[in-house]
Symmetry: D2
Subunit: 347 residues, 4 copies
């Protein structure tokens, strides 16, 4: 498609981003071009905007930001087979090589030659985005575009929650950012017996976690999460710990509140090293720990769609702010302050 | 405890049962005596009452019937360790030997020297029942006794549903007796994306299944279940088939509606042999089939308690009739006609 | 590549095959051209040659037969990414669509739009074969071409054996054709405690199964397999039953010798319907049944290569006959008579 | 049984042990008395003998040491049901409560009220030992008593190796003490494709690991284990890491050599805290970590017996020293120096 488009770009190293006008991306024979209807801001986008240490190492400007979106297919390459013009799509943001051991054995989410949309390739904070067809997830046309957009981070939570089942089980979720709050809603929808949501000072998000189904909310900066959870579970601890904070404290507490024989799934990314009581907290308790990254391609997407399309999970309340694409600075500021669930931008 | 008690007894071979007065059972050093607060009627009890072919082979009268109950512990043997006087309890009805391969490897539910309460030993359609301590399941005192009673059949459904997870998946349940209806409620609570309930002529139970959360109700005597389910799933079929009818037709349909790569869990007990298209329906579709009997001891009970105590599943609507113990004939008649969910008797 | 080649072709409906000279196949941008060094005869090839009922329905002559091979890459399409000229390769023979639910969730072996090499597309009983790059399995150059060729059927056995682990377990294998014999060797290499091999009259193959590691050989036409296995396992039955015969008798016996709580994996394809004692053999025994088709793409190939490359399994003895491609009629006759393990043809 | 017996006792706090004459233990109604035929020395016994920090905290003298044995049943309590006089037995050394969540859900090996034979109760460095019947493992009478004795530590290795399968996989084993060496032998018997054994200075045990089947032996004090293993696996790393050393270095290296998507099973017990690169080594690699303690009760014992009885694993070479019970000091010295595999004592 010819023409120009608006896009939010990290134009050069340093904090912030610029609204630019650039050519609509060209597509290859196996790609599709998507007109963006809604796009949401991820913590990763916030890191790129703020230009933190990770972003400085990883991002090579100029780069159009963003990877979470819902949109409509407006052009398809000549070798495209299952996506059609007019389809509503979102994207799996991990672009993989399909030839490594991981890709060939159902673990493409840890492909060792992976590129990430909006990080290593131009993203979707724009009017259009080009993606490989195989990364397209075709949505029900009844799905609102902002719900479509947040399937990607919701999928991180789905992947974390369902390393094993949660039905009838007690679950402690550490870290109540948007993905942690999605995990609360998912555990609720999947029949968890009791959901402990552990956050820190952010009242806004603690309240949102409560609203989405947490049975007990714990502020770990004021309260002793380990003591509260142990007491509430008859001294046993929880069946399942979901670590979505990525801090030394939360990782330690996740292991401490875990029942002997229980499982922990860990998604949160700490900055530095983590110190553990390996003997007492892992060996003698005989726990299972799952490191979680991305989404199963594409099992997680089917589960996600199954939970959302059916209405088993209503994620509407998690979408707390809606702005025009041009107002991205407002969204980024809310993200920095944490006074939001998901922030959606409309081009 | 000394004294006498009322009990419903299969006194001699043949249909029916009698209300008798018998001594309160004596307990051994590792047993407990339970005062029954509520007991519910199982299909097995109905078979014994009606004196069908199975009952004629298996039951040796005189036998006090019944195995589903909620009650209070009024006496404990001297070697009892974890149950206390005053505890509210239900029972796992499979009394096992703890020494066979199955018992020693976490599969006590298929112990090859199993006795069944109310079948091989005197049951709970009475004022008191004696059970081994190890078969006791201690309930929260807040749990109503009739809910406590139906944990046992509910547990059959829990065991069947959770051979693997159902989150975000499409599920077809064949057979809408009380256990099938429990399965509907459980799938709903566990985040199944779409629940197809397939029954036959029994409007009463079809309606109850609808009420408990089935998204689509199919009358297989009037409608083409395979066609409806295939169409509703985009031609793929369902992720999960739960066979709780035990008929040739339902078993065949379960396999036909199952997606290639899907799983079937089978609880229903057919009378005679079953004929299958083994090549097309099992091999080429690469499905997994789980035969289900009883409840995991005691994993299933923990899941069951987790779902009920938390209110994730409200089983109240499944308890459709409440009678005095003496009115057992009325209950048995309802069971014969199928115009009921669970029927509870109060001694 | 230009030029002509020899090939064994089903030229028209009816029994037999012809040696023909045809153009070397053209390749597309994502295909590779392989010079065949060794190719082996599968039961499927035998069915096509004999022109049985299945072949009559499925095969559209003219068709070059064959799908098991080891060869060298002599041409690559312009979009090929991981296969190089000179690579030694074999092929996964299931050519899949990569877009259906099954392909997108790690179950490509049951892709619902699958084409099979040598069945739906021209095969490898020839000097050259063209295959999609993604179907290539790159071999160690040290692997002899005839071993490379039989990885495909060996993979069927790997897939069947490892639905679950066999370490320290008792295993009964029903059906001692080449794949059943591979299963014997695999179970031996994987630490099965005792391997029962159950065949019928074919002394040649019973002996081969013995040689490959079966601890007990049973001729089910003369001996009571169920009685022998039950007695040898202390009355319990085996932990694992592998059904590779596809007959009513073998399926029944597989279920009868299976321990309560055990697992059965079924690869054999019966011609007509199968009748089972569903209640006693599946429900009350609480068994798990896995329908097996093809090979996990490509997990099974990694396991296969791991077992062969390391020498943990020596499959040399299973390759009992080696002929020139032109002698395919001799190979087909041996297959008909069953007086062989694997028959290899060299172009 | 009346009379006296010889026993090796930690009589008072401090290093060493004494040979004493004490009454033969009395048994309760559910216990058995076993005449010891062979008993082997565990690292735990060595810690008690040496009186290390752990022993000082845990052991209350006087205490008869030892927990690994093979013996014959010479007396049974009146309520014993499956063990008979004359049976050859070994013991699961974890004496559990059978009533906690873990015991009731197939995880008795992490019972939270566990007592350990020879640690919390009198052990088997003696002519007789009394154990609960339920802890008895009945051996084939053909099994030599010293092999019977080492089933317990061998079982630790079985439990560690088979958290998941190893067939056709690459495995790195860190820590080549007796249990690590058992793990080598088990992986070999179970079809692992390549086994890396990583030890330190102990030439005696490195050689023993080589003899038992390690394909590559690495001395981590002289060689770069991570580099060697990465290079040997084409840069991918191993499918499976077994951590049996319990050191900071070995835990780190286990995670570094693990393939993205791989699994680590950890049995080794470090003294202090362990520091990890949680983000890179666990999250981004999406690994699974299993903490391992004890043996599955009694699934691990069945697997162990299956591997040993069948001869799939020959553990004879691991038994490097045989002494009379009275020579326990010699055995303890060898353990301290590490110049041994398993040391067996005969009363």
């Amino acid at each position: 498609m010819k023409g120009e488009m608006k896009a939010v770009m990290k134009k050069k190293p340093g904090p912030g981003a610029e609204l630019v006008t650039v050519p609509i991306p060209k597509i290859g024979p196996r790609d599709i071009l998507v007109k963006i209807k809604a796009t949401s801001i991820c913590g990763t986008d916030s890191h790129i905007y703020e230009w933190n240490a990770w972003a400085q190492r990883r991002i090579k400007p100029p780069r159009i930001m963003g990877h979470e979106f819902g949109g409509e297919v407006v052009e398809v390459g000549k070798d495209v087979t299952f996506v059609s013009l007019g389809d509503h799509v979102s994207a799996e943001t991990h672009i993989v090589d399909n030839k490594c051991f991981q890709c060939r054995t159902g673990q493409a989410h840890v492909c060792q030659n992976m590129k990430i949309l909006g990080v290593d390739t131009d993203g979707c904070f724009a009017e259009y985005v080009a993606i490989p067809e195989e990364n397209a997830w075709v949505n029900d046309k009844s799905l609102p575009p902002e719900i479509a957009a947040i399937q990607e981070p919701f999928g991180n939570a789905v992947h974390t929650v369902f390393s094993e089942g949660v039905e009838g089980k007690t679950v402690a979720i550490f870290g109540l950012g948007p993905i942690g709050i999605c995990a609360v809603a998912i555990c609720k929808a999947a029949g968890a017996a009791h959901i402990f949501g552990v956050g820190r000072k952010n009242e806004y998000r603690l309240n949102l976690a409560k609203k989405m189904g947490a049975d007990t909310i714990i502020k770990s900066n004021e309260q002793d999460a380990v003591k509260i959870i142990k007491e509430a579970t008859g001294g046993y601890g929880v069946d399942v710990a979901l670590e979505m904070a990525g801090s030394q404290e939360a990782i330690n507490q996740s292991l401490k509140v875990l029942k002997p024989g229980g499982r922990m799934s860990a998604l949160g990314l700490p900055e530095g090293d983590i110190t553990l009581n390996w003997a007492d907290d892992i060996i003698f308790k005989a726990v299972r720990i799952y490191g979680i990254t991305g989404r199963r391609m594409y099992g997680t997407w089917y589960t996600t769609a199954g939970l959302l399309k059916s209405g088993r999970v209503n994620v509407e309340p998690i979408i707390t702010h809606k702005f025009k694409l041009e107002e991205y600075d407002k969204g980024m500021q809310l993200m920095r302050e944490g006074k939001c669930g998901k922030v959606v931008l409309y081009p």
